[in-house]
Structure formats: C-alpha cells, structure tokens
C-alpha cells in the first residue's frame, strides 16, 4: 500500500511538478504562457520548488535502487529484462 502510494505520488505529483517548474523557469516558455509561472509566484519560487522536487526524486531513486539490492540484485534485474518473475533456479 505504501509502495503504491509512493508510486502514485511520484508519477502524478512529483514528475508533473518538476516538468512544470522547469518550464516555468524558461523565459521563452513563460513569454508564451505567462500563467504557468504567475500561479507559482514567479520564476524564483518555481526555481525553489524545482530544486526540492528534484531532491525528492533523487531520494526516490536512491531508495528504489537500495530496495532492489536488498531484494536480490540479479533476480530483480533478470525479472526486469526478461519479464520472468525471479525464480532462483541457477543457470536460467
């Protein structure tokens, strides 16, 4: 449950926010869509939010990799690449 919530949070909150605040720092993008930065209170606020969201994403990545290592690096990697759930038969 916690895992699902964190995935939902990353995909539907953090990623859209980091893209939005990234665009809000672009002078050319803001010239075309001024509302994109106005609701955030200016470019400098966007910059601050962007910085902390990127830290959160980095933290998510680190924890993610850490969990893979805990769960067995080889079997997780095999599961991701071949699509077969990691059984621990040697040689497959």
């Amino acid at each position: 449950m916690l895992q699902r919530l964190s995935y939902l949070f990353v995909i539907f909150v953090l990623f859209p926010l980091v893209i939005w605040t990234g665009l809000a720092m672009s002078p050319a993008f803001v010239s075309a869509f001024p509302a994109s930065v106005a609701v955030m209170g200016g470019q400098q606020s966007a910059r601050t939010i962007h910085f902390f969201v990127s830290l959160a994403l980095l933290l998510f990545l680190l924890v993610h990799v850490l969990m893979i290592c805990v769960a067995g690096f080889r079997s997780r990697m095999r599961a991701m690449i071949t699509g077969r759930a990691g059984t621990h038969r040697a040689g497959t």
């Binding site: 720092m25 672009s26 002078p27 050319a28 993008f29 803001v30 010239s31 075309a32 001024p34 930065v37 470019q43 400098q44 910059r47």
Partner: protein
C-alpha cells in the same frame, strides 16, 4: 530468448530504419526553415534543436512578460565587477561622447550611431526581468530603441538570417536570429529605471533580448553585423557562449 521470433526481428529492424531515415528527412526540412541552432552537435544537440525548433514554430511572436512599475527591483544586481578594458575607460572619461554603435554586414547603408543619435529616435521602454543562467534575476525598466528600428535605418538585405553583436570587451559576442532581432521587445538600451544605464548593468549601451537568458543581453555593445552565415564568426557556433559549453539558444 526464444520469445523474439524472426518476424519480430525483421519488423523491428524495418521500424528502426524508417525511424532513422525519418529523422534524417526531418533534419533536412528543419535546416531549410531555420530551425536548427548553430551550435548543434555534442551530446545535448537533439534537446537544443527540439527546444529551439518547437519554440520557433509555436511561440515565434510571444511577448516577454512585462511587470508593473511597483515590481521593479530595488537594487538591480550590477554583476559587472571586473573593470572593463582601457578602450572602455578612455571613452568613459569623456562621458561616452565618442561611443559608437557601428552597423554593417548585409545592409544597404552601413552606419555608426553615437549615443546622442540613438537617443534622438523615439524611445521605448519595457519593464522586464533579467534572468541569469546562474539563478539570480531582477526586474528593471529598460529604455532604448527597438533593434528593428535600427535595422530599418540601415536597410537589411532580405537574405539576412542572423544579427551578430559585439561588446567592447574582447571575445564577448553573441548572435540572434531574425525572429528575435525583429522582435518588438529586443532593444538597444541606453537607460534604466528612468536614468542612464549604469556601467555595472552594461551601460552605456546594452542589447536587451528579454525572451532569452541574461547572457544573450550583451553589455557595452559597440558593433552589430547582419549576416546570412554564422560559420564566419569565431568557431562557427553562433556566439562565444557555446565555445564555453553554454547553449546558443537561451530561450531554454
């Protein structure tokens, strides 16, 4: 690995070939319509090109955000700490009376404008933000002549694609495409917040390109050249910045 059949492999190969050749055709077309930045190449090239092309296609005429007078920064950061060179200092000693902006290249009537001549044209002002690559920003009122008006005075040839502009400081030069050069907010500025433009902010003359990051707004401008070939300047990357790893197109 037996899951990948021969048919899938062939289909995949065909799709990849079509994709690559499609990209090739797209690059040709983009080049023809001036959608490829001059510093393409290197690992960021695709991203830079996509940014530049999409912004030119979708937001060519967008206007930089202008602010109410109440939002003008109390202390506009004068980041020009290093003293400009001797040539600058001798001009400064005489109150910039001999400062000239020479305009040449693909123009009918090359000219050299003094500050007084530039000021004799109807002045325009804009309250816009300078945003630096380093992260700081300030809002100021910029006063000057639209670059498009200066270009009208000298008569730009129709094949012109870029305007290259040089600072009195050696190796400090930039260029913009005609979309930005003719943009109504691109100014040759000589004033700030109702006063002369301070040296720390680029005075006596600074080109303002408010739709791009601050480094495109070159300080102490003395020379404009209209061209149809950026390869002839410096290392051919369009400006001094890409030679140091920055993007030529700073609309980001």
């Amino acid at each position: 690995m037996k899951d990948i059949s021969r048919r899938k492999l062939i289909l995949g190969g065909l799709a990849a070939t079509a994709g690559v050749s499609g990209l090739g055709v797209a690059a040709r077309i983009a080049q023809k319509y001036g959608l490829i930045p001059p510093d393409h190449g290197g690992i960021y090239s695709l991203g830079e090109t996509l940014t530049y092309a999409s912004q030119r296609l979708l937001t060519r005429h967008s206007l930089a955000r202008e602010f109410p007078r109440s939002m003008i920064s109390k202390r506009p950061l004068a980041n020009e700490i290093a003293p400009p060179n001797e040539a600058f200092k001798s001009l400064q000693a005489e109150g910039f009376a001999d400062w000239r902006l020479t305009v040449d290249g693909l123009v009918d009537r090359p000219a050299a404008f003094s500050l007084a001549q530039l000021k004799s044209h109807p002045s325009r002002s804009q309250i816009t933000m300078v945003q630096c690559e380093e992260g700081w920003s300030y809002i100021a009122e910029w006063i000057g002549v639209p670059l498009s008006q200066v270009l009208d005075l000298v008569g730009v040839h129709p094949q012109a694609t870029h305007v290259v502009y040089f600072s009195i400081e050696p190796d400090w030069w930039e260029s913009i495409d005609m979309a930005d050069a003719l943009h109504p907010q691109t100014f040759v500025t000589y004033g700030m917040n109702g006063d002369e433009l301070p040296v720390g902010n680029g005075g006596p003359l600074r080109l303002r390109v408010p739709r791009q990051l601050g480094y495109k707004s070159v300080k102490f401008v003395t020379h404009l050249t209209v061209t149809d070939d950026l390869k002839k300047f410096g290392k051919g990357l369009g400006s001094a910045e890409p030679e140091g790893g920055y993007a030529w197109y700073a609309g980001i």
